[in-house]
Symmetry: C2
Subunit: 232 residues, 2 copies
């Protein structure tokens, strides 16, 4: 991580994401920009947490690992995204590892300044409350969905979600399709089994596999299989 000494750039991000009203003057003075290289960890599970971060540029991957090395990707995120909120309020160690998937820029502020200047500042409290409740809702749906449905349904849902995005902004979706190991970690299965299910969906004519991508052929059937659920 590298601190960016560029107050103007920081102010531009505050303006771009309309964050000026969330932080009061005393807080804004302690905001700073930080950059992370692709592949770098922003936070590591189990470490002491000290910063509240706001992702303002790039893409990150959030995941958790079990003591057996089993890895569960919780999500990929792009701006605007808040990191360290739960840890700040609960005063606990970092819950999940956050890794930069591309070069990343964050606005960061140390917890001590939040405690000093922010704990009774209504706009910040409202912003945190709104953000945390939305994350709660999305994450609990994601994890419940993974628990309640077989891999076939989860994969269908995932494929729908990325092809839905791809019709808008080409390949700026949650995950490039040719990193199937990440897809396996995201939907909570082994790489081997993911390939089985992909093969089966190809055999059923719902999707087609090319060298570097998977094409949705029968969107309606896939949607039915996915129970009309879409990964967010």
């Amino acid at each position: 991580m590298k601190k960016i000494e560029n107050r103007e750039q920081l102010n531009n991000y505050l303006k771009e994401y309309q964050l000026e009203s969330i932080f009061n003057k005393s807080l804004i003075e302690h905001l700073a920009l930080y950059s992370f290289e692709q592949g770098e960890d922003i936070c590591s599970q189990g470490d002491t947490s000290q910063y509240l971060y706001l992702l303002v540029k790039g893409k990150i991957k959030i995941f958790t690992s079990s003591s057996e090395g089993r890895k569960l990707i919780l999500s990929f995120k792009t701006p605007l995204y808040l990191i360290g909120d739960i840890e700040y309020v609960q005063d606990i160690d970092i819950i999940n590892t956050v890794e930069a998937v591309s070069p990343v820029i964050m606005i960061g502020i140390q917890y001590q300044w939040l405690k000093k200047f922010g704990s009774e500042y209504t706009p910040l409290l409202q912003f945190l409350l709104e953000t945390v409740t939305r994350k709660f809702y999305i994450k609990s749906n994601f994890l419940s969905f993974n628990l309640l449905y077989p891999v076939e349904v989860r994969l269908a849902s995932y494929l729908l979600s990325i092809s839905f995005y791809d019709s808008d902004a080409h390949n700026d979706s949650g995950l490039s399709i040719n990193r199937l190991r990440d897809v396996a970690d995201l939907i909570g299965t082994s790489y081997r089994h993911l390939n089985r299910v992909i093969q089966q969906l190809c055999a059923e004519g719902l999707i087609e596999r090319t060298k570097e991508s998977i094409i949705v052929i029968n969107r309606d059937a896939l949607s039915t299989l996915a129970n009309h659920n879409i990964y967010e």
Copy 2:
């Protein structure tokens, strides 16, 4: 659900749980007590949400159901516990079903009063933020744990958690052991498979099964099997 017209009883609960400072005068005027019978639904998944509730007496069960009728129990809760917070802030329908496991008493307030008198009241915002972040942390750990570990590990963890409690307050734990169907729903497996795993743990000498309970024999081995994780 039945409204309890007893202002003194309400004030007693506010005092008992030190809630008077969380709600301002205008909010307290709109608080009310409600009672629910055992087995009654307090909220139903998918319904419109209108009330923020605080559980002040009894025990509840929170669960979600899939469209195939698969049921996942998220937790059992006793006082003090907040319901409807995510739905209030996000303005969405009820996420999970909440059912009274025993006769239950709740403090309730309609969202309209919260919006009118509470959305800028710092103590309430702080209380909501603190509560929501704690729930987020506990629930995401619970669901991740269910996803990352096999049933054997999850059952071991569950048995440790209830026997840990039972050494304190007899049978006031999350679940009475002889409703194994609920245990199956809580740890996310079928009733059949749960019985297999119980049988196997008995054969290995870690637990012993009697007519109405399961006794932990080898607590250390169970703890090792559970990866030193305990269901909260």
